[in-house]
């Protein structure tokens, strides 16, 4: 109960947001399209939060986050389709199983690679990401329904606004609590200076592993929600470019800031979709030319991200 009491401000605020957004949807002020992308934004926020824990708080540069997102998506899709899950309440355990699967994968991969220095870690995670994508591309050899490169069709649509919102808020709160606990403290220490942290007795390896596993868990849950929202999965959705998407959100939002990630996620999805609405078809290509330019500019102007607590 203490958990909820401590977070009372957040819970109240989120209840308010929920009411506002829900009524907007309900009364049809905005189209189904906007509804869908709001849900997508929630999913993106959740997944990016996972990367924020791994990278923003603990300082481990992972370029393979989309792989865990994909694992969660495929596990959830498989379970919901094969077991014919229709009920939202039956879906909730599936969500957590998918998250756990991704977390487990993160744990197993983490053991060998988290010992590496940051740039090597980047390549190792990149490698893992591509590896997972190759597996997904050939997944129809494992089980016909997974679809391989044809894609996974016919996933039951179970993600509703309520579900996504509540799961997101719940996990945000859990994350927040973790951050403020001693684990979060250790994580931030490790990010600042791993050697010093080790020298004062922090078990850096197991803390890093914990952060990584938890971050992958969040990605898995996000992936599961995604699978049951879009009802179709394709391996090409989970490649390095997707990982870079999440990375951009974490960076833009400010590493080590939960609210930053939330804003950045909203802005990112809004931006991409907004550009789709605003730009005529002829120059819509230019989206992808400006985005990297913005990224570079951002790095030069504020190397620590847009919204961040002032440090150093």
């Amino acid at each position: 109960m203490k958990f909820f009491w401590e977070a009372r401000k957040v819970i109240l605020l989120s209840a308010l947001v929920y009411l506002v957004v829900k009524s907007v949807f309900y009364f049809g002020f905005v189209s189904q399209y906007i509804e869908q992308i709001t849900l997508y934004a929630l999913i993106v926020i959740l997944t990016s939060l996972g990367l924020n824990v791994i990278y923003g708080y603990t300082g481990q540069f992972s370029l393979g986050h989309a792989a865990f997102y994909g694992i969660g998506a495929y596990v959830s899709a498989y379970l919901t389709k094969v077991f014919g899950i229709e009920n939202v309440f039956a879906y909730i355990p599936v969500l957590f199983v998918s998250g756990a699967a991704a977390g487990l994968a993160g744990y197993l991969i983490g053991i060998p690679i988290l010992r590496l220095r940051d740039d090597f870690l980047a390549i190792a995670t990149l490698g893992f990401g591509t590896f997972v994508r190759v597996i997904l591309d050939n997944s129809d050899k494992l089980s016909e329904v997974l679809g391989g490169s044809r894609g996974f069709v016919g996933i039951p649509r179970l993600t509703t606004f309520e579900l996504a919102f509540m799961v997101a808020i719940f996990l945000i709160l859990v994350t927040r609590n973790l951050i403020f606990s001693r684990y979060g403290l250790f994580w931030r220490c490790i990010k600042s200076d791993e050697l010093a942290s080790a020298s004062i007795g922090i078990n850096t390896f197991s803390m890093k592993l914990m952060a990584f596993t938890y971050g992958c868990f969040l990605a898995g849950v996000g992936g599961a929600l995604y699978a049951n929202l879009y009802t179709f999965l394709h391996p090409s959705n989970f490649d390095i470019l997707k990982s870079i998407d999440f990375l951009i959100i974490v960076i833009v939002g400010g590493m080590g800031s939960i609210t930053g990630t939330i804003y950045a996620g909203l802005i990112w999805v809004g931006f991409i979709e907004g550009l789709r609405i605003v730009l005529p078809a002829e120059i819509v290509d230019l989206r992808w030319v400006f985005i990297p330019l913005l990224l570079i500019g951002l790095m030069m102007w504020k190397p620590y991200g847009l919204i961040t607590k002032s440090r150093r």
């Binding site: 189209s31 189904q32 906007i34 490169s149 069709v153 909203l266 609405i277």
Partner: protein, 376 residues
Amino acid sequence: MKKTLCICLVLLISLFCTGFSFAKDVVKIGLITPLTGDVKTFGESTKNAFNIALEEYAKTGKYKIVPIIADDRNDPTEGANAALKLISQDKVLAIVGPLTSKVAIPVSEIANSNKTPMISGTATSPKVTFSDGKRKPYVFRACYIDPFQGTIGANFAIKQLKVKTAAVLYDVGNDYSKGLAEYFKATFAKGGGNVVAYESYQKDDVDFSALITKVGMKKPEVIYVPDYYNKVALIAKQIREKGLKSALIGGDGWDSPELIKIAGNSIVGGSFTNHYSPDRKDPIADAFIKKYKEKFGNVPDALGALGYDSTVMLLKVLDNVKRPTQEEIMKALTTVKNFKGVTGRISFDKNGDAIKSAVILKVEKDGFKYLTTINP
């Protein structure tokens, strides 16, 4: 706090703006096609063809068509988002596209559940119109499906080329290529042939030397390469460089003027299944090709032509129905028979897939030559 307010304000305003819709009495047709991403060229040609079709319609058509073009980046999520936007926000009457099956499948679900007619010119996976044992009544396609093409290719090899051994090289990441390969293999084996090698490569591969050497060891009489012309050109070149003399067969992905340009002599003598033959005197096709060339400088590829046919078909049906509602259009589409398109005569079967004859074209030094027609 101020920052929060600003952000909220921006979000609210953008939300508000997107809620607007036109209040004129027009018909909106959507096009979902990959304008960025790896199959950008095909998306471009589809868009160009779409625009030509609209231009022609504007001269004699009943309604004022407002096109809404969306880029799907050849990504299923983008496609799904675009489809939702076109349907729920822009309130399009019908959708042309998407180009590839992997985008078309989720979009077809969305279109169907929102009762929006959708015609894809080029998505060949059976699952686009028929999935999980159910037909999606609002979804149609103007091309034949993978099973049909792969089967024809195999039958051609067995009956016309009279070969007993074949090798297949396909792109594992491309459902079109994979689909054709699978059906070719099955039909070839059923016809008494022996598939001596069945090798896959990946989309980004450019070095096929290892594969070709491997396949060459088995000495196949033909090699089936069902992929898009750019890959095929590359593979054909490397096959000839390695000294393999096997005949080459392929599918409609070969259809592009670029094929001979890129592959040169290595592809001459090959044959492929296609929708239409450029050298069969066909006034409709010629007119379209001429117009496209004038406007855009190059000859359209098969995907563009299919996009054109899909659009023209849709617009024709639109003019013929009593009221421009989605249900009427859907019903009218199911009755389309022998529509004279650029890519042949099109009728829809009960699954909304096109029943068309296929032609076999032979590649010669100066172009594609018509060999024979296979009727369904």
